[in-house]
Amino acid sequence: MKTLAELQAIREQMKNKMNIREESEAGTRIVVGMATCGIAAGARPVLTTLSEEVAKRELKDVLVTQTGCIGVCRFEPIVEVYEPGKEKVTYVHMTPEKARRIINDHIVNGQVVTEYTIGAAE
């Protein structure tokens, strides 16, 4: 027997887990380059950290996904952030620590971490 409050809790929790099954164009997409070059440079722990941070902070409408080779292999691991109505931001030479900061500064607080971007690296 579940109380109404317990049912509501299950509903909220499941919604968070299942929202990746919706194809929404509205939210933010964080894309990790996961080709051979990216994986070799350490993209997997970056991806894992990003996913964990998004889950831990219960961020809605934020999608962590992956893509193939972006083409500038010397900058891997690369993470791209797509926000609706804004320019794409490309972060390079990513690490799990940098990933945590991007979630905190950029995704949550809206401040692009300029020093990690491809512009700064070049």
Binding site: M1, R11, Q13, K15, I20, V32, T36, V54
Partner: protein, 595 residues
């Protein structure tokens, strides 16, 4: 942390094309590359595109893979899941546009569909109640039990204009009102899941893909009419549906959503499954209830109607699976929302099982009032192999044919009745130029002769006599007077049979007589079957101009009817030929044709 969900269809269609092997392989490969904590494989109900099974969709990308074989899985896991490169070769090709992958919702098959009854099919795992709750499941029940009076519930259903999706289209709210008004110490809520029309599989798919939607709606109905006990009557030929329904009932009981004091209120409702043995007549409401009571499934005269004297002679409501699948949504979103779809007299959507000569065999849900052309040509992808559309059959053995000339007919209850067909439960069988309409009518009559329960004479004897006349015509022994006899007999059976089975059984004959009389006449007068189906009226011939005497046909003929010398034209002995057509398919020179 799970970052990707792979939904694999576990409906009957995809199960038989091997989706469970694909799931096993996926789990194995995902573990092998160490992604088992990131990627979750979920078995769901039917996606609708059964022709392309096994089907799977990978989120968050929404990549839709079709006809996935276990040997493809390794590539999908290594390329897509590990490296993020979608394997375009294995995608449903409609979603591939040059270098881009477009969303499934933009494909022809899905673009015109609105999914209400099927909203969770292919989206949630039907064996996990939490996933149903996560898609607002049991919220309607909560709203009803905590904020609404029974009469208010009935008023909402009435206002929505929801009509029975089993075929007859009786207003659901009125049915509930009659049962609520009836006096009785015990009332029952029943669900008709005895989907018997050949080619129909909507109810099965709903039960397989979203069983909790039916349980929730039945509980709401029970509250509305004051019932404490319910039965789902489902055919034993649907093993997957039965097992998922059983799991769902167990889970609902565990959560206190069925049983005593639901959600802590004073309301109690218990639900049981009754298995039918597959008799077509048990889809008729009075026969169904007789069968639940433990007797032989035979109908009884109405009145008294089930709302007053139904199961065990107590007030009962019986609704179809798809009807129930709409109820919770109507409660949550309101009757105006429901009325915003479909037509004035037929609001909402209808699920159809597309079958026969159509490219996209499968399950579709469209707003009422969509034309047959949109369903067949746009959603269904037309007839395969460039053949010409001839007719669509709706309503199974109780319905009729819609000829190509009426392809722009909007699909709703009234329009279909007007042209001599009926909505039926939602089977839609497409026929092309290779189908003989007399043979189709004969096929359905053969079915009803078999399935007639035999209680009343018009149906028991009448359907058999109709069948015999049709058989005579397809053998080329018919006379023109037979058509008049046929028509008279059909009208007699319709008018005098006890239940819906007999009252509608002549429909396939009457509607083909109405729209395809010329085919009947061709069989009778010219002794010819225009579509080349009726074997007695066929003969195979070899064109001596085209035959080069390769002897391939003679070697393959199972009865040795073809003779001839090597490198000289052969000939067929028509007295020996059994018209199997093997020679025609084997001939590489197109020298053999049927006349």
């Amino acid at each position: 942390m799970i970052r990707s969900h792979i939904l694999v269809c576990g409906g009957t269609g995809c199960t038989s094309s091997g989706s469970h092997e694909v799931i096993a392989e996926l789990n194995k490969e995902i573990e092998a590359v160490g992604l088992d904590k990131e990627v979750k494989v979920v078995m769901t109900g039917c996606f609708g595109l059964c022709a392309l099974g096994p089907i799977m969709i990978v989120y968050p990308e929404g990549a839709f893979y079709s006809k996935v074989k276990p040997e493809d899985v390794k590539e999908i896991v290594e390329e897509h899941l590990l490296k993020g490169r979608i394997v375009k070769r294995l995608l449903y090709q409609e979603t591939v546009e040059g270098d881009d992958v477009k969303s499934l919702a933009e494909t022809n098959f899905y673009a015109k569909q609105i999914r209400v009854a099927l909203r969770n099919c292919g989206v949630i795992n039907p064996e996990n109640i939490d996933e149903y709750i996560g898609t607002d499941g049991y919220m309607a029940l909560e709203k009803v039990l905590t904020t609404m009076q029974p009469q208010e519930v009935i008023d909402v259903i009435k206002a929505s204009g929801l009509r029975g999706r089993g075929g007859a289209g009786f207003p659901t709210g009125m049915k509930w009102q009659f049962a609520a008004n009836a006096v009785g110490d015990q009332k029952y809520v029943c669900c008709n899941a005895d989907e018997g029309d050949p080619g129909a599989f909507m109810d099965r798919s709903v039960l397989e893909g979203d069983p909790h939607a039916v349980i929730e709606a039945m509980t709401i109905a029970a509250y509305a009419i004051g019932a404490s006990k319910g039965f789902v009557y489902v055919r034993a030929e649907y093993p997957i549906a039965v097992s998922r329904l059983k799991i769902a009932i167990e889970q609902a009981k565990e959560y206190g959503l069925l049983g005593e004091h639901i959600m802590g209120t004073d309301f109690s409702f218990d639900l049981e499954i009754r298995l039918g043995a597959g008799a077509f007549v048990c889809g008729e409401e009075t026969a169904l209830m007789t069968s639940i009571e433990g007797h032989r499934g035979e109908p009884r005269p109405r009145p008294p109607f089930p709302a007053n004297k139904g199961l065990f002679a107590k007030p009962t409501i019986l609704n179809n699976v798809e009807t129930y699948a709409n109820v919770a949504q109507i409660i949550l979103k309101g009757p105006e929302w429901f009325r915003s779809m479909g037509t004035e007299k037929s609001p909402g959507t209808k699920v159809f099982a597309l079958g026969g000569k159509i490219t996209n065999t499968g399950l579709v849900e469209i707003p009422m009032g969509t034309t047959l052309r949109e369903i067949v040509e746009e959603i269904g992808g037309g007839c395969p192999n460039g053949k010409k559309f001839k007719a669509a059959q709706t309503g199974g053995p109780s319905g009729g044919c819609i000829p190509a000339s009426l392809i722009d007919t909007p699909i709703d209850y009234e329009s279909l009745i007007q042209i001599g067909s009926m909505m039926g439960s939602g089977g839609l069988i497409v026929m092309d130029e290779d189908n003989c309409m007399v043979d189709i009518a004969k096929f359905f009559l053969e079915f009803t002769v078999d399935e007639s329960c035999g209680k009343c004479a018009p149906c028991r004897i009448g359907t058999r006599r109709i069948y015999e006349i049709l058989d005579k015509i397809t053998r080329g022994e018919g006379e023109m007077e037979d058509l008049d006899t046929l028509e008279e007999l059909c009208n007699h059976v319709k008018a005098n049979s006890l239940c819906g089975l007999g009252q509608t059984a002549p429909n396939p004959v009457l509607s083909t007589l109405r729209y395809f009389r010329d085919e009947y006449v061709a069989h009778i007068v010219d002794k010819r079957c225009p579509a080349g189906v009726c074997k007695k009226l066929l003969s195979y011939e070899i064109d001596p101009e085209k035959c080069i005497g390769c002897t391939l046909c003679a070697k393959n003929c199972p009865v040795g009817a073809i003779t001839g010398e090597l490198k000289k034209p052969h000939s067929i002995d028509k007295s020996v030929c059994i018209k199997c057509g093997v020679c025609e398919t084997k001939c590489k020179f197109g020298a053999i044709s049927k006349k």
